[in-house]
Symmetry: C2
Subunit: 123 residues, 2 copies
DNA sequence: ATGATAATAGTAATCATTACTGATAAGGAA
DNA sequence: TTCCTTATCAGTAATGATTACTATTATCAT
């Protein structure tokens, strides 16, 4: 896995923000530094970064994929109204439960869907 | 929401099995009863059944969507080798945690990814 | 520096899902 | 039962996110 300015720019962008971005949002952001970067390059690097565990991804209920440079174990809450994604701490990990049962868990994803505090108040 | 033989066939198929099926697998299965059912009809019904909560869906790490007629709260383990999907009980629910914090959680999805018992033994 | 080759830009292809349209059938009212 | 309204359908075309391809470029070990 070579280090390229494209991969570095993508990773640095995601790490510099505590939000969640789609591939094309990342493409737009990184183009400010590397104007002729290709969307394919963004996808390829996102995919290798996912594989190496340097980033994670969440999916909203309408199938949009968002990427996250904050990789300390945490869960996500997706608001179905404002589409914001909130982080929260993983309650008890299911890993232990499964690994005591003979499974090898490489990672777990917990996503809750509903309406966030703000949208409830502004209903 | 009208009751049609297409929707009934899809729901009955999913409820009759304790496995997880993709849209096109469901299409193939239901075509044995309704040979000229359209793939679009399968997708439309899966989507309304998801919305009404009569079925649920899981996604493997390679982005394939699978549907499940068993809707008692449970979590999924996706084996990255054999691609099988295993059900397991939800540990402690994150709902309580979030709702005490002012969020309205309509549903939660917990998915673990890794290698299953069988694949570990036959490695 | 040089060479091997991994990664890139740009573009074309893929493929799951959705949208469209005229025809069909579910199910309430008479 | 028969008729009407309209949701749903079959069949097909369109969409759009993601992936594949290819000639070129840039990384990095030697």
């Amino acid at each position: 896995m070579r280090e390229t300015k494209q991969k570095t720019a993508i990773l640095e962008f995601l790490r510099s923000k505590r939000q969640h971005y789609s591939a094309s949002q990342i493409y737009d952001a990184v183009r400010e530094k590397i104007p002729n970067i290709s969307l394919g390059t963004v996808y390829r690097n996102l995919s290798t970064l996912l594989e190496s565990g340097e980033i994670i991804s969440v999916e909203t209920s309408d199938k949009c994929v968002f990427y996250d440079g904050f990789i300390k174990d945490h869960a996500h809450f997706v608001c179905q109204k404002c589409k914001n994604i909130f982080d929260f701490e993983l309650p008890t990990s299911a890993k232990e439960h499964l690994s005591s049962d003979g499974f090898d868990v490489s990672y777990e994803r917990l996503v809750c869907y509903g309406t966030c505090k703000n949208c409830l108040n502004n209903n």
